[in-house]
């Protein structure tokens, strides 16, 4: 009997390890031999822990599993109280376009044979037949843009590094996924680590780099473990080192962050990787020319790099055929907060915010009306219902004074206090500021004080807050100070009533 049960952090946080123990002890007691595979998550977090039993008809899903539901797995499966039917027929999965996440939740993350059987390494084998310029051209043709949030064209970044002259170059994967509501990097690394490895090897071939680093935040212990194990397997199997016997060299290692949000900013990450304080660097010089140890360095997000293998396996044209406007390909939406159906949903760019929140997410978990959706993490704007027609794309969200960031969405119901959310944005910026530039370091502290004045009914502090935000936006070196005004100003603009309460109470 073959059973799949996720090792994914979300599944584990909901009791997957205890379910695994119970399955094994039940099997032993009944004398049944069970092959229990700990895989990635299918992304339906409200159904975790989700158990899949392999049958002749396909993989049958059961969830959310409790310990009491385990014994019935050994009986008539059609009678199981948590039976959901065939996994691949579940509407959440059927309606997605899974390119980057095609294998996550499907394969054993540590089986290179599973990986190859599902199309893995095909992209790398094709890239090995191409020269550097052709590899870069393929990435450029795919229209792939940085999935970390900035949306910079990946092909152009690679071209700069590829054409730079240096004795050493590096590929750095930014896996410091600190934005609340985002967990795509984590899920990818836990569920299909070889995809990230393959993407980084291809980046190495394209740029002439022989060494890569994955900088993973310390808050992701499972991802750190799975990546380290996968790298060891890839090295033993000849994917890393002398790449598939081609004579081209690439190796990589995991580095663990130490709890600094700002290290998700690429220059701060590079300083951290060098063993320094995670302080932001002024640009120029660009990391593409002077990055890690002053050498030309590609710094790409996990999802950007993990989208590379499928682009080479299926071709840039296919990837580019998805999406809208200048947002090409697919995007793994991460639906979080107060939602009925939370999790990861990969789809072409272009769905409206309303289709995502009311449709896919099914509205709030509390059953109360949606008040606001924060898109793009702690530095993203709060969107009211009146902007639910906005299509999901880089330019489309920028046009509404927002950003898609790393594509995380936090849904709030009508109990949310938007003044408190604005205050939190400033407080978070003050805690996490690296301290290099004044608008961020001092501005965030003054921001908290100013919001507190507004909360006490001092309406004259509102223009001061707006002015402070303008200074932070224009005067900060990086996105931490520069984008904190997005959540603050969007809360103020779209939910002015929440900033007037005290005055009303006084009247």
């Amino acid at each position: 009997m073959k059973i799949y049960l996720p090792l994914d952090s979300a599944a584990v946080a909901l009791g997957a390890d205890e379910i695994a123990e119970a399955i094994l002890s039940q099997a032993q007691a009944r004398g049944v031999s069970v092959d229990l595979v700990r895989n990635g998550s299918r992304g339906m977090v409200w159904l975790e822990p989700l158990v899949e039993v392999v049958t002749e008809a396909g993989r049958l899903a059961f969830g959310p599993m409790t310990l009491a539901d385990v014994p019935a797995l050994f009986g008539d499966l059609s009678e199981h109280p948590k039976a959901l039917g065939l996994t691949e027929d579940l509407p959440w999965l059927r309606t997605q376009t899974r390119l980057t996440f095609a294998r996550v939740g499907v394969i054993d993350p540590h089986s290179l044979a599973d990986y190859e059987a599902q199309g893995g390494l095909a992209g790398l084998r094709r890239a090995l037949t191409m020269d550097r310029a052709a590899i870069v051209a393929e990435v450029t043709a795919s229209g792939l843009r940085g999935r970390g949030g900035a949306g910079f064209p990946t092909g152009i970044k690679w071209k700069t590094v590829s054409e730079a002259k240096a004795d050493r170059k590096y590929i750095v994967c930014n896996a410091d996924e600190g934005d609340s509501a985002t967990f795509a990097d984590r899920m990818l690394m836990e569920g299909d680590p070889f995809t990230l490895i393959e993407g980084m090897v291809i980046a190495g071939l394209a740029c002439g780099a022989t060494k890569g680093f994955v900088y993973i935040r310390s808050e992701y212990p499972v991802a750190v473990r799975v990546m380290q194990e996968a790298i060891a397997i890839a090295r033993a199997e000849g994917v890393l080192g002398n790449v598939l016997g081609s004579g081209q060299i690439f190796d990589m290692e995991v580095r663990v962050g130490a709890g600094a949000y700002v290290c998700g900013e690429e220059t701060s990450l590079l300083n951290s990787l060098e063993g320094k304080r995670g302080v932001v660097r002024a640009k120029p010089p660009l990391p593409a020319l002077q990055g890690f140890m002053g050498k030309p360095t590609v710094v790409n997000n996990v999802i950007s790099l993990a989208s590379i293998p499928v682009i080479f396996e299926k071709g840039a044209e296919l990837y580019k055929s998805f999406g809208l406007g200048r947002s090409r390909g697919t995007i793994p939406l991460q639906i979080a907060g107060n939602v009925k159906h939370g999790g990861l949903y990969e789809i072409a760019f272009g769905l409206t915010l309303g289709e995502i929140v009311d449709g896919i997410a099914g509205g709030t978990a509390s059953g109360c009306p949606v008040k606001a959706v924060q898109v793009g993490g702690p530095l993203g704007a709060y969107f009211p219902r009146s902007l639910f027609g906005t299509p999901f794309g880089y330019e489309e969200f920028a046009g509404k004074d927002g950003l898609i960031g790393h594509a995380g969405l936090t849904v709030f119901d009508d109990s949310a206090d938007m003044l408190a959310q604005a205050r939190f944005a400033m407080e978070f910026c003050a805690i996490e500021s690296c301290g290099k530039c004044t608008p961020c370091r001092i501005g965030a502290v003054r921001g908290v004080e100013t919001v507190d004045r507004i909360a006490k009914g001092d309406a004259s502090a509102i223009p001061l807050l707006t002015d402070l935000c303008a200074t932070m936006k224009a005067g900060s070196l990086c996105a931490l100070g520069g984008f904190t005004p997005y959540p603050v100003l969007s809360a103020l603009t779209h939910f002015p009533d929440d900033f007037n309460r005290m005055k009303e109470a006084a009247e």
């Binding site: 952090s9 409200w46 996924e177 995670g278």
Partner: protein, 155 residues
Amino acid sequence: MLDSATTVARVEDILSHHQGMEGALLPILHAIQAEFGHVPQVALPVVAKALNISGAEAHGVMSFYHDFREAPAGRHVLKLCRAEACQAVGADRVAAHARKVLGLDWHETSKDGAVTLEPIFCLGLCACGPAAIVDGKLVGRVDEAKIDALIGALS
């Protein structure tokens, strides 16, 4: 409490495992904290000398990152997520409950040394919040009852 000679000997052993590594300071500090539960003051000059940086620089790096401790934590560490996705499902309310039950504010350790309470900003469990991590074990959908059970199990 270890005497400083023992501490220094163990730090030197850790350093010997990181020779030739590019940008080795964070991995070294992680290894030291894993060994001692914090980064002892006497360790920093030893590390600084080995890496050919100033003591001030080593201290500057250590104190920049939230993870590194100057003093040992309690026997158990309870970290509660304070980020937005968890706020949307009641993290502030749950945190207030935990602080009241423990009689601790953020970053404080109980007098008997049993529990340290810390905030954390995102565990990537944003679709099953409020999230917590207790001595390295992840917990999702934390409510007041779960807090009571978690705290009750710590001693």
